[in-house]
């Protein structure tokens, strides 16, 4: 089913979404991938400030190509989520509500999603040119030294994703795997 939602997320919205829903997201989201996750994770463990507000927000696993003159951002598709699995449960325990990536998550992440009433979306891998058009604003807000891995704040409009793990712990990839 096609659904339209906006950020920040609320429990009500999250509970209304189910695996297989085709969802269009509008609002502010954050882009962060491997190296930024490592730093956020370590900062939380050390009790330090982190440079973004996780509460009710969405992280997009993205490292874009450089923008050309006049472009908001370069090619902007998702990267493989499983590399973030190690860091994800802690981030969910600290308020993160949604993630956009591609590919499987491990059992600990699925449990943490259920426990924290969160949600995992997949964007289409290899559709970076198309997805860049849905990003209307982009600015680096932290870890600029990480280049394509810096943390960005993005404003997206009708960004297309599919619910892969919903807040009830249902996992679309597993459902497909069993039915085939």
């Amino acid at each position: 089913m096609d659904k339209y939602i906006s950020t920040p997320l609320t429990n009500e919205v999250i509970e209304s979404l189910q695996v297989g829903d085709y969802v269009y997201i509008t609002g502010l989201i954050y882009a962060a991938r491997d190296a930024a996750h490592k730093r956020i994770f370590e900062a939380i463990l050390e009790g330090k400030e982190i440079p973004l507000d996780l509460n009710n927000n969405i992280i997009y696993y993205l490292g874009p190509t450089p923008a050309r003159e006049g472009q908001v951002i370069g090619s902007s598709g998702p990267t493989t989520s499983s590399r973030m699995d190690k860091y994800t449960p802690l981030l969910l325990d600290h308020g993160l509500k949604g993630m956009i990536g591609k590919g499987k998550r491990n059992q600990e992440v699925i449990e943490a999603i259920k426990k924290n009433k969160a949600i995992y979306f997949a964007a289409t891998g290899g559709a970076g040119a198309l997805l860049s058009k849905k990003i209307k604003k982009s600015k680096v807000i932290a870890y600029e030294d990480l280049g394509p891995e810096a943390i960005r704040e993005l404003y997206v409009e009708n960004f297309p994703v599919v619910v892969v793990i919903d807040s009830y712990g249902n996992n679309l990839y597993q459902i497909i795997n069993q039915s085939s």
């Binding site: 085709y22 993205l62 450089p66 289409t124 891998g125 290899g126 198309l130």
Partner: protein, 283 residues
């Protein structure tokens, strides 16, 4: 003595630069046609929506020079060096890397290479590339540039099978690898398989297989049959576009083979996403 043909490194640099940019914004027509065809034939609705996104994505990429995918890859370069050419102006390897450097800078492509696999500092210019040299007869330099993303590279496998495992063993190895890759390799995928040789040769063949036109089957009858059977079986797995279900799991299976040892049956499976990039030019 026949005279040598001179090819200048400046020419090589310029061509590699252009090929890096071209490969990242347009796909070869055989790959693109397979995606378009799949999008009109796929019946599972989520899968179909994903394929429609991919078609639109290719349009935008080509028209606006935006890379098809943000992972613009590690560059693999296949060089067929005619033995009657003389390279003037410096080292061939340095010329290839300079071409990559300029291409990734001027093409606004992502720099995804770390200079050391453990220290992991970005080299900031996407070099070095991985270069495979082949010395051939003649006086041409044939260059194939194939940037490869790591979402799919990470799902690739090598199996050192026993001769007794036979064709069934090969099929199982390929199917297991594709199943395990699942949604992570950005399906629909292209499957490159290398059979025979030894440990490194089969991996090389698998990579090379990915650069073959998807409409061209192996000239060996038994290998051709294996390609067709595997494609059919993979597309019955139900993984589908984006791993969200459907019939389009693979766009093609290309197999290259080589003689091997009496005691072995090496099989390498190099998984590539639908962004199966490769451009060839002859200088």
């Amino acid at each position: 003595m026949r005279s040598m043909r001179i090819i200048h490194t400046e020419d090589i640099i310029k061509n590699i630069k252009e090929m890096c940019i071209e490969a990242n914004v347009t796909l070869a027509s055989d790959v693109e046609e397979k995606i378009i065809k799949a999008s009109s034939e796929e019946r599972v609705s989520l899968g179909k929506q994903i394929l429609e996104q991919l078609c639109e994505n290719l349009e935008i990429a080509r028209n606006e020079f935006i890379p098809i995918c943000q992972d613009t890859g590690m560059v693999v370069v296949f060089l067929k060096v005619g033995q009657n050419i003389y390279i003037q102006g410096g080292s061939l390897e340095e010329a290839v890397n300079e071409g990559i450097r300029q291409g990734y800078q001027q093409g606004y492509l992502r720099k995804s290479i770390v200079s050391d696999p453990i220290i992991r500092e970005n080299s900031n210019d996407n070099t070095p590339g991985i270069i495979h040299y082949e010395i051939v007869s003649g006086d041409c330099l044939e260059i194939t540039v194939a940037p490869k993303g790591f979402g799919s590279e990470n799902m690739s496998q090598i199996y050192m099978l026993k001769p007794s495992d036979g064709v069934e063993g090969i099929k199982k190895a390929v199917i297991d690898t594709v199943k395990n890759a699942g949604p992570n390799a950005c399906p629909p995928i292209v499957v490159g398989v290398g059979i025979g040789g030894n440990f490194e040769k089969c991996a090389y063949l698998a990579k090379k297989a990915l650069t073959r036109n998807l409409n061209k089957r192996s000239h060996l009858e038994h290998i051709k049959r294996l390609e067709l059977e595997l494609l059919e079986e993979i597309n019955q797995l139900g993984i589908g576009p984006g791993g969200l279900g459907g019939r389009t799991t693979a766009l093609g299976v290309n197999i290259e083979s080589f003689p091997t040892h009496i005691a072995g049956l090496p099989v390498a499976i190099n998984i590539c996403c639908h962004v199966n990039r490769h451009v060839t030019r002859s200088l």
